[in-house]
C-alpha cells in the first residue's frame, strides 16, 4: 500500500488483511512443498498421540486409585469423622475468594461474563461427571455457589464501602488462623503450635503499633535507669523465659531459671543503653519498643490458657494425620507468607550501610543458596529429632515450614534486591528532599516500585516453593505427593502409577498456573505507564 505525501495519513487502527482459516493455513502451514509435508507428518504424529492418550485415559487407565481414594488425595489420613472440618475450610476459602473477586471487580459492569459463565459451567459439569467428586456433589456444588454468591456480595460491598478491600485482606489474615484451628482443633493443651502462631501474630501487631505511635524519651535520671533495668529484667525473665520454655523446658529447672535470669539482665541493660543514649539511636529505640510490645503480648498470651486451664472447642487432630492437598496448600501458603517478609528484610539488610547487618544478610543468603533444599528439610525432619529429646522438638509440620522459609527467603532476597537496584537513585533523593526519613522513603517510595519490578521473579519463587513441598513427601510428610506414594505402596494399586501421577500433576499445574495468571493480572493492574 502506498501513501502519497499529499494525502493526509489516515487515523485509526492499521489496516490488517482479513484472512480466513484456509488463507491462514495456506500462508503458515502449506507455503512450500517441504512445509506441507512437514505439516502433514506432524499433524499425523500429534493426532496419533492424542488418540493413544484418549484411548488410554478412557479404556485402559486404572483410575480406581484416584476415584477410590479421592478423600485421601485431598486430606491425607485426616479422620473421616472430621471431614466436615475440611469442607468448612474449603467453603470459607471459596467464600473469601468470591468476596475478594467481587471487590476487585467492583468497577466492572458485569462479573459473570460469558467466559466466566462457561468456566462455572465446565466446573459444575466436571463435578457432576467425574466419579470421584460424585459422593461429595452437594458439598462441592454448594462451594461453587458460595464462590459465585461471594462474588455478587463482594461487588455490592466494594461499591458501598471503599474500605472493603482492606477488610477482606484482614479476613484472609484471620482465615489463616481459622484454618489452623479447624485443622488442628483445640491444640491449647496438646501443642503450642497454634498458640504460638497467634501469639506471634498479635505480638507483631502490638509491637508495630507501639513502635509507630510512641516516641522514645531519653531517660537521664539514675532512678529512671534503675527502673528501666527492672522493667527489662522482668520482661526478659518472665516473658523470654516463657517464650523459650517449650524449647528449653527439658533442661534442669535451675539451669533454665539461670538462663531466663541472664536474658532478663541482658534485656534490662539493653533498655538502659537505648533509652539513655542520644537521639542518634532513635531507630534502635523503636526496634526495642517493637520487641518489648511483641514480647509482652507473646508472653501474656502464652500464660493465659494455662492460668485459666482452658480446654474447649474442637477435638485435637495431630499434625501427623494432616495430609494430601490440604497439607500441601497449608505448607505452601505458610511458607510463602513467611518467606516474603523475611526475603524483603534480607534484601534490605544486604543493602544496608550497617556492616554487621550486611554481613549477616550476605552470609545467610550465600550459605542457604549453597545448600540443596532437600538437605535443609532432612536436617529439619531427621536430625533435629535425633539431637533434641522428646518434648523439645517443634512439630514436624512447623519444621517443614521453617525449612521451606529458610530456603526460599534467601532466593527471594536476591529477587527483591534486583528489584531494589532497578529503582533509580533519583527516587529516594526526591523522597528525602521532601523530608521523608529513611524508613518512610523505603516503605512508601522504593519498596513499592522494587516489588513491582520483581513480581515475575517473586512469583516464580512462590511457584517453586509450592512445587518444593513435594520434597517433604520424600522426608516423610504425607502431603499430596507423599500421600500418593503412600497409596501406591499398597498392594491393591500395585503399578497404578500413571493415573495417580497424572491426577496430582494436573492439580499442581492448576495451582501453579493460577499463581502465574494472578501475577500477570497484578502486574497489569500496577502498570501506571501510559494507561
Amino acid at each position: 500500500m502506498t501513501t502519497t505525501s499529499s494525502r493526509p495519513i489516515e487515523r485509526g487502527a492499521p489496516r490488517v488483511q482479513k484472512t480466513g482459516p484456509i488463507a491462514w493455513s495456506q500462508k503458515h502451514l502449506f507455503n512450500s512443498a517441504f512445509n506441507s509435508v512437514l505439516t502433514v507428518v506432524l499433524i499425523g504424529i500429534l493426532a496419533y498421540a492424542a488418540y493413544s492418550t484418549l484411548v488410554w485415559g478412557f479404556t485402559q487407565a486404572p483410575w480406581g486409585v484416584v476415584t477410590e481414594n479421592f478423600a485421601q488425595f485431598m486430606v491425607g489420613l485426616y479422620p473421616s469423622a472430621f471431614y466436615w472440618r475440611a469442607w468448612a475450610i474449603f467453603a470459607m476459602v471459596l467464600a473469601l475468594a468470591g468476596l475478594s473477586w467481587g471487590i476487585l471487580a467492583r468497577n466492572q459492569k458485569k462479573i459473570f461474563t460469558v467466559p466466566v459463565l462457561i468456566g462455572f459451567g465446565v466446573a459444575a459439569l466436571l463435578l457432576i461427571a467425574l466419579p470421584m467428586t460424585r459422593p461429595y456433589l452437594a458439598y462441592s456444588l454448594g462451594s461453587l455457589a458460595l464462590l459465585a454468591g461471594g462474588a455478587v456480595a463482594g461487588q455490592s460491598l466494594g461499591r458501598q464501602y471503599p474500605k472493603a478491600a482492606t477488610l477482606i485482606s484482614g479476613g484472609w489474615f484471620i482465615s489463616y488462623f481459622a484454618v489452623l484451628y479447624l485443622l488442628g482443633g483445640n491444640t491449647f493443651t496438646n501443642s503450642l503450635f497454634y498458640l504460638v502462631v497467634i501469639q506471634a501474630g498479635l505480638g507483631i501487631l502490638v509491637g508495630w503499633q507501639l513502635a509507630a505511635r510512641v516516641g522514645v524519651p531519653a531517660v537521664t535520671k539514675w532512678l529512671g535507669k534503675l527502673g528501666l533495668l527492672a522493667i527489662g529484667f522482668v520482661l526478659g525473665y518472665y516473658v523470654l523465659g516463657n517464650l523459650l520454655y517449650p524449647i528449653l523446658g527439658g533442661l534442669p529447672y535451675t539451669v533454665f531459671l539461670g538462663i531466663a535470669a541472664a536474658l532478663g539482665i541482658a534485656l534490662g541493660l539493653l533498655l538502659v543503653v537505648v533509652f539513655t543514649a542520644p537521639e542518634t539511636v532513635h531507630s534502635v529505640g523503636k526496634v526495642v519498643l517493637f520487641l518489648s510490645g511483641f514480647a509482652i503480648v507473646f508472653g501474656l498470651l502464652g500464660w493465659l490458657p494455662q492460668l485459666l486451664g482452658l480446654d474447649f472447642g474442637l477435638t485435637t487432630v495431630r499434625t501427623n494425620s494432616w495430609g494430601g492437598l490440604t497439607l500441601t496448600l497449608f505448607l505452601a501458603i505458610s511458607g510463602i507468607a513467611l518467606c516474603f517478609p523475611a526475603g524483603v528484610l534480607l534484601a534490605l539488610g544486604r543493602r544496608s550501610k550497617l556492616p554487621l547487618i550486611r554481613a549477616f544478610s550476605v552470609t545467610y543468603i550465600e550459605l542457604v543458596r549453597g545448600v540443596p533444599l532437600i538437605s535443609i528439610l532432612f536436617m529439619g525432619q531427621v536430625l533435629i529429632p535425633l539431637f533434641l529429646p522428646e518434648g523439645m522438638r517443634p512439630d514436624p509440620v512447623v519444621r517443614a515450614i521453617i525449612g521451606l522459609t529458610i530456603f526460599s527467603s534467601a532466593y527471594l532476597a536476591e529477587n527483591v534486591r534486583a528489584g531494589l537496584q532497578a529503582v533509580p537513585q533519583g527516587q529516594s533523593e526526591a523522597a528525602q528532599s521532601l523530608g521523608l526519613n529513611k524508613p518512610l522513603t523505603m516503605s512508601l517510595i522504593v519498596l513499592p516500585q522494587a516489588l513491582k519490578t520483581a513480581i515475575p521473579a517473586i512469583v516464580g519463587q512462590f511457584i517453586s516453593l509450592f512445587q518444593d513441598t513435594t520434597l517433604l513427601g520424600i522426608v516423610g510428610l504425607l502431603e499430596l505427593l507423599g500421600m500418593t506414594r503412600n497409596l501406591l505402596a499398597s498392594p491393591k494399586y500395585l503399578g497404578d502409577f500413571a493415573p495417580a501421577y497424572v491426577f496430582i500433576g494436573a492439580i499442581y499445574w492448576v495451582f501453579c498456573y493460577g499463581m502465574s495468571y494472578g501475577s500477570r493480572r497484578v502486574e497489569e493492574a500496577l502498570n501506571t505507564d501510559l494507561r
Partner: protein
C-alpha cells in the same frame, strides 16, 4: 586551592537587614575517589532572593546546591539553612529538608502514585496534615501550576513539562522556605521549557527564595537578583544579571558567556 584564589567576598543584598536563609561558608567537598569537587565555596542567599548559578558542566554547581539539603555531604566548612547547621545530626538534616524544596533535572516524580498522591505524600507523612487538608492545598498548587485537571493521572501519562510542573507543586506542598532548582529545564523538549519557566517566574514574583542552576539566560536576566558563576569547584563571580551578562568582571566569566550566548 589557597585563600587568595577563592571567590570574591559575598556581596550583601541591597536591602539592609534582609535575613539570610542560606549561609554557606568555605564549603569543601571531596568525592570518594579523592576528587576535590568544591574548593572552599561561600555564598549567602537572602530571603526573597532569586540566585541563578551558572557554570560549565563539571564545575560543581549541582553538587553545591545539593549540599543545601544534605543530598550531598560535605567535609569542611559549614552550611546553615535558616539557622540550622547541616552536619551529621539526622534530625537536623530532616528538619532542613522539610524547609528546603528541590526540583530535579529528571523530575523524579513517583511513578507508582497519582499526581495528587505525589503532591500530598510529604504533607501527609511528614507534616502530618489530615488528608483532606493536604489534598485541598495540593489542588490549589496544581491549579497554580496549571494542571489541576490532571490530578488523577499517573506521571507516566504526562509530558515532561507537565511532570516538571507537578514536581514543582510537590515541593511547594511542603511550604518550603527556599526552593532549589537543579537544571529544571535541561531534560525538556524546547517547546516545554517555557511552561516550566513561567511557573518559576510566577514563583519568584510571589517572593519565593530560589536558587536555580540553569542555562536559561533569558530567565536569569529577567528574574534573577544575582547571578553566580562557578567553575572548577570555585565561585568565580557574583554579580547582578545586567552586569554579569553585559559586563562580567572576570575573564573566566567572559569565556563562559562567549560560549553560551
Amino acid at each position: 586551592m589557597t585563600q587568595s584564589e577563592m571567590a570574591a567576598p559575598v556581596t550583601p543584598r541591597n536591602e539592609v537587614g534582609a535575613e539570610a536563609v542560606i549561609v554557606a561558608k568555605d564549603v569543601n567537598k571531596w568525592y570518594d575517589n579523592g576528587f576535590h569537587v568544591l574548593k572552599g565555596v561561600s555564598m549567602n542567599v537572602y530571603k526573597g532572593e532569586v540566585v541563578v548559578v551558572m557554570g560549565p558542566s563539571g564545575s560543581g554547581k549541582s553538587t553545591f546546591i545539593r549540599t543545601f539539603n544534605a543530598l550531598e555531604p560535605y567535609q569542611e566548612g559549614s552550611i546553615e539553612i535558616d539557622g540550622v547547621l547541616i552536619a551529621n545530626d539526622l534530625k537536623d538534616i530532616e528538619a532542613v529538608r522539610r524547609e528546603v524544596g528541590m526540583v530535579f533535572q529528571q523530575f523524579n516524580l513517583f511513578p507508582h502514585l497519582t499526581v495528587l498522591q505525589n503532591v500530598t505524600l510529604a504533607p501527609i507523612w511528614v507534616r502530618r496534615w489530615p488528608k483532606a487538608k493536604a489534598e485541598e492545598i495540593a489542588m490549589r498548587l496544581l491549579d497554580r501550576v496549571g494542571i489541576a485537571e490532571q490530578a488523577y493521572k499517573f506521571p507516566g501519562q504526562m509530558s515532561g513539562g507537565q511532570q516538571q510542573r507537578v514536581a514543582i507543586a510537590r515541593s511547594l506542598a511542603m511550604q518550603p522556605k527556599v526552593m532549589l532548582f537543579d537544571e529544571p529545564t535541561s531534560a525538556l523538549d524546547p517547546e516545554m521549557v517555557r511552561e516550566v519557566l513561567d511557573v518559576m517566574r510566577n514563583l519568584a514574583k510571589d517572593g519565593m527564595t530560589m536558587v536555580c542552576v540553569t542555562h536559561e539566560v533569558g530567565f536569569a536576566r529577567e528574574v534573577a537578583d544575582r547571578v553566580v558563576l562557578m567553575d572548577g569547584g570555585v565561585l568565580v563571580e557574583e554579580n547582578t544579571p545586567d552586569e554579569f551578562f553585559s559586563n562580567p568582571k572576570e575573564e573566566r566569566s567572559q569565556a563562559f558567556l562567549s560560549q553560551i550566548l
